[in-house]
Assembly symmetry: C2
Homo-oligomer: 429 residues x 2
Amino acid sequence: MDAVRVGVLGCGNVGAALVRLLTADGAGIAERTGVRLEVARVAVRDASRRRRVHLPSGCLTGDAAAVVTDPGVDVVVELIGGIDPAGTLVRTALEAGKPVVTANKELLAHAGAELFEVAARTRVDLLYEAAVAGGIPLIRALRESLAGERITRVMGIVNGTTNYILTRMAEEGASYADALAEAQELGYAESDPRADVEGFDAAAKAAILATIAFGAQVLAGDVFREGITRITAADVAFARRLGYVVKLLAVAERPDKDDEEVAVRVHPAMVASTHPLATVRGSFNAVFIEGDAVGELMLYGRGAGGMPTASAVLGDLIDAAHNLRTGGSGRTTTLAPATIRPMDELCSQYYLNMDVVDRPGVLAAVSTVTAENGVSLASFEQEGLGDDARMVFITHKARERDIQDTLEDLRGLDVVKRVGCLLRVIGPE
Amino acid sequence: MDAVRVGVLGCGNVGAALVRLLTADGAGIAERTGVRLEVARVAVRDASRRRRVHLPSGCLTGDAAAVVTDPGVDVVVELIGGIDPAGTLVRTALEAGKPVVTANKELLAHAGAELFEVAARTRVDLLYEAAVAGGIPLIRALRESLAGERITRVMGIVNGTTNYILTRMAEEGASYADALAEAQELGYAESDPRADVEGFDAAAKAAILATIAFGAQVLAGDVFREGITRITAADVAFARRLGYVVKLLAVAERPDKDDEEVAVRVHPAMVASTHPLATVRGSFNAVFIEGDAVGELMLYGRGAGGMPTASAVLGDLIDAAHNLRTGGSGRTTTLAPATIRPMDELCSQYYLNMDVVDRPGVLAAVSTVTAENGVSLASFEQEGLGDDARMVFITHKARERDIQDTLEDLRGLDVVKRVGCLLRVIGPE
């Protein structure tokens, strides 16, 4: 059996884990799958640095472009991340007829359409299971198992860092700042945590998920995005009392079942504690899928980490190698851009907290504002805070535009001292 | 684009749903997947009966064998169930070079090895996503996404009927008999419920899962099997007090990580309520997978029902049609029989309840018996029942053989009036 020769671009956490899997269990993999994979070249930023992975001499190089064009490389694994030079390298490989496996969500969310076009034209695999939700076999499920399904909604916890922070806030009553600091200490969060906590990472993944689920091109810029930085321990505790947990969700849906418009967004949400997503704790990821025929599905697992992500890359590599050997090819279709429904036309239930002056007539003032904006309250609670009071409510389903107008009007009331966090509610309504 | 012509064998719940999906959304499926599927022939038991699905005249026939050999049929979907004549029909199709999609767990668990050999020889797809856990994209995840993974354990709730019954017992305090009667009224359980409640259905699925997960042939007869009929409302309530829920689990594992021996079993178990499987309620299914690199995964969804199962069949059909068109083929490997570790060599924690005479010295007698058998108690509780007492305990990890000897010795004590349910415990230990 001829080996399929793998060129790996980037040898960080995931790259090193992949090389370790391929070198430690190459024979086992060949026996289980009928495909022999061999690490041919590994491109790193600094080829002179000592590494923990053992490779044949001459295997390491600092020149990623040379790995792509090397005739001794059959398949390219791109683990550099970012848009440039990763995009150019992937494109070059595909143009040369070499299948590419990538874990690069950012690249796909920004330039995926163009790369998939090249892959379709050259009839070469461009596989990316590891780009969303790490080791969870999500992309293949959406692309193949559910290929015939009309999917109506995909809703996921796709960022482990924020889920870790929110879990600590929920279970230990930690403040956002303390939970973030702890996540940083443990290596779950970067020293500059913005990509995670502001939702950029989740938004790139949401764009990829929406593109596959709805068969229309969604870019990162199409995704409405809000992070978790304004969430307080009080919001989380209040959610808990009402039977909810706060999660950062990536949501891609068809708001009208029979319409082709799609809505894609990332924001913190209150999820009913009976919902399967509510049980996803710590740095785990999970994606909840709803389809016309299949009903409800959830896929749960490790969304990050070297080994789980490398496991997903390996699954793709075996696929690509199998296709190379049998002359088959993945299914690549060229997609038209999706029609995006603007955020302010969406409907949801909302949670809102605010600090008000504690005196008669405040509730009347607040409820007049909500009523005037066509927003009706489903539940309401108030607690004293010295001279002030914290007022918290959950609305019935309302339009985003109306709730934003409500917020604006509430901020204008002199009895309202501070308008806090707005959370969309995923619940039974 | 030429249509791929589908011959459907069996038009019950799943068959009718599949025909409905293919006729109602054929154009949508073609657009999403690049494959046009056309229902060419449908074999039914009684072709003269009126049906709710609309088919071109001449499409229906009572002769399944004629559908398989019809030159106007490119792909065969087997939904008849059972071993005969389904096995002969599947084999004939594969021998004729026609891909087969089946949802027939019984056939695969009894004669799968032989059929996969035919498929490998004729290089034709034999796909069976729908055979285990209905609409959940489990088989493809195990076969493809995790192809390179060394899987150590697969543990699932794969029978919706028993999970519905156990959920009612846990949440409503219902007796087994009442919960079963309710499941029968709702159509979740058959009038003869043995295949479900005695664990035969789950055992067939366990054999299929073990075969894929460990790449070695496991047959239904290799699976240790215990059903849920002896579980009482008291067991379920006690489990709850200790932080567990009772679930019927199908478990396939490598008891020693570095050994090739596999253990496959179906039995009710106490699952720690913090475990993701504990949250799977009602008729839902879920499968929890552990692998060396990927860590922990769970896939959750509808394990039965016409539409979810048809959705899984459709995913396979698209795969088979794609492979037919591109000349690729699924990955079929011929597997050697697995080495099965006998049940009595396995280790687990155990829960046991028994009724004893309420007098001094009983605990001493019981604990002497357990100690003599090398079984040590982790927790213990006793409550009065008139002149008697109910004694309940959970052991530390012990060998199955030792616990069975313990049970036998306990039954021999004159202070023990009744030995109740034995449950294996899936917990933090």
